[in-house]
């Protein structure tokens, strides 16, 4: 095609969306975590050497290099260690922007994971804020973190900075 034709432009870029279906094989440790989510509980694992509780556990302690075979049930409550408010759209985004994406440290865990914070305006989220998990209805529970709808404030006093400083 000639680019000189009225109202036309030469084609320089062609977008070709592709997709890939894959089967995720979680392994023993992550299966424990994912099956816990499917019945609405958080299951972590404790390192026999340092005693730290990992959630989700990859089956071994990254510091000590030993298997974490003791399963520990953790509560639905914890704190926000740090967070950001996402206001940027991208392909495949699952949550409407703006949303608060936080690092949530469950009570009794020694590592945080990413969680959505709702039922509170973004500008009122704080480091150290106490939160609790809100699960999807029982018939919608499944083996993924999609079972947790979001975390919401409990209204308890904030944790002291010194109590979670080492998790930042």
């Amino acid at each position: 095609m000639s680019g000189a034709e009225a109202g036309t432009q030469p084609v320089t870029v062609l977008e070709t969306p592709i997709h890939l279906d894959y089967v995720f094989t979680p392994g023993i440790a992550q299966s424990i975590f994912l099956r816990g989510l499917a019945r609405g509980v958080f299951l972590g694992q404790r390192c026999p050497t340092c005693g730290k509780v990992y959630i989700p556990s990859r089956g071994s302690c990254p510091v000590d290099g030993v298997a974490t075979d003791e399963v520990v049930e953790l509560p639905d409550t914890g704190i926000v260690t740090t967070y950001c408010v996402v206001n940027v759209p991208f392909a495949g985004q699952a949550v409407e922007i703006p949303y608060t994406c936080a690092q949530v440290l469950l009570d009794g865990a020694n590592i945080s994971f990413m969680g959505l914070i709702q039922e509170v305006p973004a500008d009122q989220v704080r480091m150290g804020m106490r939160v609790e998990a809100v699960w999807v209805p029982p018939d919608e529970l499944g083996p993924s973190l999609a079972s947790v709808k979001y975390f919401r404030p409990t209204g308890e006093p904030d944790a002291l900075y010194e109590s979670y400083e080492e998790y930042l």
């Binding site: 995720f24 990992y54 699952a94 994406c101």
Partner: protein, 385 residues
């Protein structure tokens, strides 16, 4: 190091939002040809090629280096691919330098690139997985919470990030290769730019760029007659750590602290702020300047932001950082780390043009990547080590 190793040629492409005038092979060849010309050598003089780029998922093409061999004169020669996420440009240069230092090759071409306009980095960095919530929004979404943690830990006032955002963009005006040329940039413009990942605003984040970088590294016996004096490698190291472990310091990772201690130890640097003349450090988000000032030992913990605020890291300060405009002004991801290493070499070779620091003798090149878990650094100098 067994054999001495030096940079004898550097080349980079124009770094732009869209280099739709060239294909990926054309892009890498453009940088490689410039590096060969600067070194005064031809394709036949190269013993091996070491190449790096960001993860293959960005373009959805696995092992692209295989199809790039002809464009890089590598057919029939050893070719080596390096993978360390965003730090890859630095690690790639180090793998090439190791091949020379180990006495395996005399002259190695090293290349790194990204054509972000042909890829989708945001998507590739935000793929949903069952064991994590689908919330991660690209690299900014990952690093913004750690920036907030730094602000809390150090007590730094919120305008510090804006100072870096302005400084690096003003430096970029002196670098014709840089992607962003924003002559009107000031603190107010940064403050009024849209909030993308609170606390990070649009102008406090790096752009998305196309570009490639290349260097020719040579042993002492194969320096040839380059256009500028060689930049000697005085120290080099890589370190990594797991992304997640209990008690991990995500603001000032241990791998970074140990990497710089190793490099400075090799180079005899004990007082970096006095001994290093200029540094090119991987700062993709404004706040990573004060964070890395502390991690790299240029400032005490909690004090990095004061150095930034004082103007010490500006071109007329006592420890200029990112005179080229840095990653904040150009981010062809895979090439970004190599550009830091290359710009450090340009400074000690005296070929940095308008962004040259007069009399620079010793320079630091730095790259980091992944979830701040990969680090690569070198110190290059005008004097033979």
């Amino acid at each position: 190091m067994a054999e001495r190793c030096a940079v004898v040629g550097v080349g980079q492409t124009l770094l732009r939002s869209k280099r739709d005038d060239v294909s990926i092979p054309g892009l890498v060849r453009e940088a490689a040809k410039a590096a060969l010309a600067d070194a005064g050598v031809g394709w036949d003089d190269i013993d091996a090629v070491v190449i790096g780029k960001a993860p293959d998922m960005f373009e959805g093409t696995m092992m692209p280096e295989l199809s790039l061999a002809p464009a890089l004169g590598a057919v029939g020669k050893p070719m080596f691919r390096v993978h360390t996420a965003g730090s890859v440009g630095g690690s790639t240069a180090l793998v090439a330098a190791h091949l020379v230092a180990a006495g395996i090759h005399e002259r190695v071409l090293t290349v790194a690139y990204e054509k972000q306009s042909d890829s989708d980095a945001m998507w590739a960095l935000s793929v949903p997985q069952p064991f994590s919530a689908p919330l991660l929004a690209g690299a900014g979404g990952y690093f913004a919470p750690h920036i907030r943690a730094y602000m809390r830990r150090s007590g730094a006032p919120e305008h510090i990030g804006r100072i870096v955002a302005v400084k690096d963009r003003l430096n970029a005006l002196k670098n014709p290769y840089a992607h962003l040329h924003l002559p009107d940039i000031d603190l107010k413009m940064v403050e009024e730019s849209v909030m993308l990942w609170d606390p990070l605003r649009y102008l406090e984040a790096c752009p998305s760029s196309d570009g490639a970088a290349a260097m020719v590294l040579a042993s002492e016996g194969a320096l040839g007659s380059p256009a500028f004096p060689p930049a000697w490698v005085h120290g080099m190291a890589m370190r990594s750590e797991p992304t997640m472990f209990a008690g991990r310091d995500q603001v000032s990772p241990r791998a970074g602290r140990e990497c710089v201690a190793d490099v400075f130890g090799q180079a005899g640097v004990t007082r970096p702020r006095e001994q290093i003349d200029v540094a090119e450090v991987y700062v993709p988000f404004s706040w990573y300047e004060p964070m890395w000032l502390e991690n790299l030992g240029f400032a005490e913990p909690g004090e990095g932001w004061k150095l930034t605020e004082s103007g010490a890291t500006a071109m007329d300060g006592d420890i200029p950082w990112n005179c080229s405009g840095g990653v904040l002004s150009s981010n062809p991801i895979g090439a970004s780390g190599m550009l830091r290493f290359l710009e450090a070499a340009m400074q000690v070779r005296g070929q940095a043009g308008e962004h040259q620091i007069d009399g620079a003798r010793l320079a630091l090149g730095h790259a980091y990547g992944g979830g701040s878990q990969f680090f690569a650094m070198w110190v290059v100098g005008a004097a033979k080590p």
